[in-house]
């Protein structure tokens, strides 16, 4: 063994506990890197495989009025088949369209175990063009998870397959029955399925809180759906599968060509095609994937940077303490490079140990980490977890780099080129500025003179060297920033939810309609007569596009038409500017910022304008999309970040609907004494008397609880961060405070020799650590806030969910308190040792 190697191992042995702590921090960083990135890769691969294996549609196109009943709502199946084949066979080149599927996709209501909820029927033919039975459609296939698929005879029976999110939520089993549609037709469940089309359970962009409680998908044989909806031989959607090697732009061009062909050649009326990238579930999944990816990189990098800081502090102090030995070694003939290598070797071994442990832990927990995201996002396809060598290798290099950077920087700076410089070096000079610190001089100006046996030594200890001060405070900054960030995340989210449901949403029961009733005011009046109901209002919720007149920037939003011009009873606004005016719109702040508009500016709202009324109860009509200019009368900062409010009458007027009553799809009810029993009783009465067209009636608590369920993923991530934060904080604080006290051992021995009582020494050390904790807390809170903002941006779309980020006074106190407890625990053992020092021995050598 060479001299260098011996020295390295000697140093490691001497400081084994501290080095091991840093190794552990690196190990945590590498474990989380391997785990999180693998989970992300597994998730990406799982959905990619799902898309490929089950022929996810390249684009879909619905009829112009897919929910209606007019001639532009349905297309004859056989005719459309012929048109599609014609489109595929036109031209001499091989068509880019591989195959297609004609389906019914229809939003309706289900009744499951006596409870109604929104849902979607997806129906496909169980026979191919040649009349042969098939289990899977050509496009947008699925995987049977339980039970049996449709059989040859299924088209003659009321049977269905339930998409897994809905089935899981309600714990539906094969052979159970659910009622489908307005007429509550019972369908027997044959089995449950998972499909790439609904990897995430989401129906539309307008639903910001997709939950199986409010949205679920049920598959029917095409013929049964046609009977149910009374549209024999008809479909309302085309799903198209293109060649896989096409870009988005190419897919869009083909989709546009198809639309033009069908509309111009065959006089069909169709909606705009929806590319795969814009499909709601796929879009949300992509957002989740992006968040998962960022989270997978950000968390480990923060941990590794902290480990790097810890290593920097530890080696920096070690090199300072051993500066004279370094000088001697140089004088004996060791080159500067050799000595740097020696210290760097220590850092690299620490990093290597951490990296190896982290990699092993990553491998051991591979089966836990791998499917993490797919399970959390309830993706119904089995993730294939394999060892990802590239991730392992990158993780390895990250770990080693942590050691290299954390070790090289302090060592290089501390080792002088000439041995004389090192030999001349006096550690006491290094750790003492030789000046009275500024803080003390300021106190002196105010005639506050610290006693030498009082707080002078702790204050001087803290301020004696910038580098030492930084390294002492570093640990506290890490601890406070992590704790405040984690608790800040939790309380910001809790506050946002609490504000949303306790203050902003001021209703007790909400009715959702499956189709828009045009007599909302009559319904409201009737409901208002029910015993216990104190007030009723209604609004019209829809998706819309808003465009700035000036910047021409557009944004998809949720538009709420409000019926009450004199104060909206079910919602309390949180205005940043202006107020609600029935003649204008109120925008949420993120939209205003995105569009670069503010109060008194004008925006264009793209809204449906009635061109032909088919029926008014329920509303069946033809619309065209038109842009209407509105002034902005107010800006709100609310939980739902992408929302605009407009007066319902103004909206009705602009939609050319004012001759046909008051359309609304949501009724909100205030109850005098909103106990669960009272709410349930009112709900039953509404179902009994006014059940027509009602999809759901739910209480605010039920909605809030559904939303809280949705946030489980985010809370889970926060808990992971919290666990890492606590472990990291404890280890780094303990390490630094331990070093601090060990450096002072000889000095403590001198003070004891002079006759300083133990109590006073304990007080001195505690005061010094208190100063470190207070200053570290201030800086830690600043860093904590930055990290809070960054993490929340990563794990939550702060535009979509408008969450006011803050760190409360309680959290500040908690971060400070927990860190202080950590500091006090950390000072306990080395201080106890220092107080029991052999004074004779400890005072023999020079005080550093």
């Amino acid at each position: 063994m060479t001299k260098i190697t011996k020295n390295i191992f000697r140093a490691l042995k001497a400081h084994k506990a501290r080095f091991f702590t840093i190794s552990m921090v690196i190990a945590i960083g590498i474990t989380s890197f391997n785990g999180m990135v693998t989970a992300f890769v597994v998730m990406t691969r799982t959905y990619n495989n799902a898309f490929e294996d089950y022929n996810m549609a390249s684009f879909t196109m619905q009829t112009a009025n897919p929910g209606g009943s007019g001639e532009d709502a349905w297309i004859d199946y056989n005719n459309l088949t012929r048109y599609m084949d014609e489109f595929m066979n036109q031209g001499e080149e091989e068509s880019s369209v591989l195959t297609y599927e004609l389906r019914i996709v229809y939003d309706t209501i289900f009744e499951i175990r006596g409870t109604r909820q929104n849902g979607r029927i997806v129906a496909y033919s169980t026979f191919d063009k040649k009349g042969n039975y098939r289990e899977q459609p050509n496009v947008n296939g699925f995987k049977m998870l339980t039970g049996d698929p449709f059989s040859e005879t299924s088209q003659y029976r009321n049977v269905c397959l339930v998409e897994t999110h809905l089935a899981t939520y309600w714990k539906l089993e094969p052979h159970e029955f659910i009622a489908v549609g307005d007429n509550d037709v019972p369908f027997e469940i044959l089995g449950t399925l998972g499909t790439p089309e609904y990897l995430i359970n989401m129906g539309s962009y307008a639903d910001i809180m997709p939950s199986p409680r409010r949205f679920g998908v049920v598959y029917l044989p095409l013929k049964r759906a046609q009977v149910l909806l009374n549209v024999p031989g008809r479909v309302n959607e085309i799903s198209v599968l293109l060649k896989t090697d096409l870009y988005t732009r190419q897919r869009e061009t083909i989709a546009e060509d198809l639309k033009t062909f069908l509309e111009e050649t065959h006089n069909l009326k169709l909606s705009d095609p929806i590319d795969r990238d814009k499909q709601p579930a796929y879009y949300l999944l992509k957002l989740d994937i992006e968040e998962a990816r960022e989270f997978g990189y950000v968390l480990p990098i923060i941990i590794l940077v902290m480990a790097m800081g810890g290593l920097y502090v530890l080696l920096g102090r070690m090199v300072v303490a051993e500066r004279k030995d370094i000088g001697v070694a140089q004088a004996l003939g060791y080159s500067r490079r050799t000595i740097i290598l020696q210290y760097l070797g220590i850092a690299m071994i620490v990093a290597l140990v951490g990296t190896i442990i982290g990699s092993i832990l990553g491998l051991l927990f591979l089966d836990w980490f791998g499917p993490l995201y797919t399970q959390m996002l309830t993706i119904p396809f089995d993730p294939k977890v394999t060892l990802e060598w590239p991730i392992l290798i990158v993780g390895f290099f990250l770990g080693i780099s942590t050691g290299f950077i954390g070790g090289y920087l302090p060592v290089r700076g501390a080792i002088q080129p000439l041995p004389a410089e090192s030999l001349r070096f006096d550690p006491s000079l290094h750790i003492t500025t030789g000046r009275v610190p500024l803080a003390e001089r300021i106190l002196n100006k105010f005639r506050i003179h610290l006693k030498v046996t009082g707080y002078k030594i702790p204050v001087r200890n803290f301020f004696r060297s910038k580098r030492r001060t930084f390294s002492s405070v570093f640990a506290v900054i890490v601890s406070v920033s992590l704790i405040s960030m984690v608790f800040g995340m939790m309380e910001s989210m809790s506050y946002a939810l609490e504000f949303q449901y306790e203050v902003a949403e001021d209703w007790d029961l909400r009715i959702d309609y499956s189709e828009i009733p045009s007599n909302a005011s009559e319904i409201a009046k009737a409901i208002n007569k029910i015993d216990g109901v104190s007030n009723v209002t209604y609004h019209l919720l829809s998706g819309a596009t808003v465009t700035s007149n000036q910047s021409k920037i557009s944004k998809q939003i949720q538009l709420i038409g409000m019926n009450d011009f004199n104060g909206y009873i079910a919602h309390k606004f949180n205005f940043d500017a202006g107020t609600f005016d029935p003649n204008g719109v109120v925008l949420s702040r993120p939209i205003a910022e995105k569009l670069k508009v503010w109060e008194k500016d004008y925006i264009l709202l793209e809204i449906p304008r009635l061109t032909k009324l088919v029926s008014s109860a329920p509303l069946r009509a033809h619309f065209e999309m038109v842009n209407v200019s509105f002034p902005i009368t107010g800006i709100v900062d609310e939980f739902n970040g992408l929302v605009a409010y407009i007066g319902l009458n103004k909206l009705i007027q602009a939609s050319n609907f004012d001759d046909f009553g008051q359309p609304a799809n949501i009724v909100l009810i205030k109850v005098e004494n909103p106990t669960p029993t009272q709410l349930d009783s009112i709900r039953k009465e509404i179902y009994a008397k006014y059940s027509y067209n009602i999809r759901n009636i739910f209480t605010k608590e039920e909605q809030s609880s559904d939303f809280a369920d949705l946030l489980d993923l985010i809370y889970f991530i926060i808990y992971i961060v919290a666990i890492f934060a606590v472990i990291l904080s404890c280890s780094i604080v303990y390490n630094t405070i331990y070093i601090n006290l060990q450096e002072q051992q000889r000095e403590i021995a001198t003070l004891l020799t002079i006759g300083t009582p133990n109590r006073r020494l304990i007080r001195n050390v505690t005061v010094e650590n208190l100063i470190i904790t207070i200053i570290g807390t201030v800086l830690g809170l600043i860093l904590g806030w930055i990290m809070l903002w960054f993490f929340m941006k990563v794990i939550l779309d702060l535009e979509f969910f408008r969450i006011k980020l803050f760190i409360s006074n309680e959290t500040i106190l908690l971060s400070f308190g927990l860190t202080l407890i950590g500091v006090l625990v950390a000072q306990f053992f080395p201080l106890r040792r220092a107080l029991n020092l052999n004074l004779a021995e400890a005072t023999k050598e020079r005080v550093i």
Partner: protein
């Protein structure tokens, strides 16, 4: 009756797996005001003996008595009080508090015990009195123009002089000096001894014990005790030689 009495004092250290006998049945009496030089080679047990007297260490066997105090049986708390009130220590490596200036180092010791009032023999903790007393002592060791300097800004001799001022300012009955010149050159070392000589002695009723391996310092003492392998091999009194006449 002797002021400091060591009766059959032994001290064993366990270093690794081997036991080292630092002191082996030491019997010693030292009078109040006596200036004793303990001389011997490295490992003879000089510092251990000094530590026993100063309450920095306790014997494995035997008894150490100072005045009427049985030092060897004191609890840690009372040992601290004993060191604070009775003993001043000067170390080979000075052991000044690096973050405190020369003046503050001396003040520290004074703030612990206070300053005796000349009027009624009581003690005052008045900060002005403490500061003036500390200045006075630093003046006595010739550092009146360096009082606000920090240890790192002082030379070795100056640091040792601060250490002496710190040890003597609280007017201890016993001054213990462990190789006080060991880390200084001849000229500075002799200056330090001259200061110690001037500030101690019978007239002040202060017992001084100096430990050294430098035989040339022995003439400074009224009495010389030579140690070897933890035992007293020679103990003699002599005519005191002033420090200014010493040479090594």
């Amino acid at each position: 009756m002797a002021y400091i009495t060591l009766e059959n004092v032994g001290k064993n250290y366990i270093l690794g797996e081997t036991m080292t006998q630092a002191l082996d049945g030491i019997n010693l009496n030292i009078e109040l005001g006596e200036l004793v030089v303990i001389f011997g080679p490295s490992g003879a047990g000089k510092t251990t003996l000094l530590n026993m007297i100063g309450g920095l260490d306790i014997p494995t066997s035997g008894k150490v008595t100072v005045g009427e105090i049985s030092v060897s049986t004191l609890s840690a708390k009372w040992l601290t009080i004993y060191r604070r009130k009775k003993v001043g220590v000067v170390f080979q490596f000075f052991n000044l508090i690096s973050r405190l200036s020369a003046l503050e180092n001396v003040e520290y010791a004074l703030e612990l015990v206070g300053v005796k009032k000349e009027s009624n023999g009581g003690v005052t903790f008045d900060s002005k009195v403490i500061r003036n007393t500390a200045k006075e002592y630093l003046d006595k060791v010739g550092l009146h123009d360096r009082i606000h300097h920090f240890p790192a800004q002082l030379s070795g001799g100056e640091q040792q002089r601060v250490a002496i001022a710190r040890a003597l300012a609280k007017e201890p009955e016993i001054l213990l000096a462990d190789e006080p010149t060991g880390n200084l050159d001849f000229k500075i070392g002799r200056q330090v001894l001259e200061i110690m000589e001037a500030m101690t002695g019978k007239k002040l009723n202060r017992t001084v014990v100096i430990v050294t391996h430098n035989e040339a310092i022995c003439p400074l003492g009224d009495r010389v005790i030579r140690l070897s392998d933890g035992r007293i091999v020679e103990d003699y009194t002599q005519k005191f030689t002033p420090a200014e006449e010493l040479y090594w």
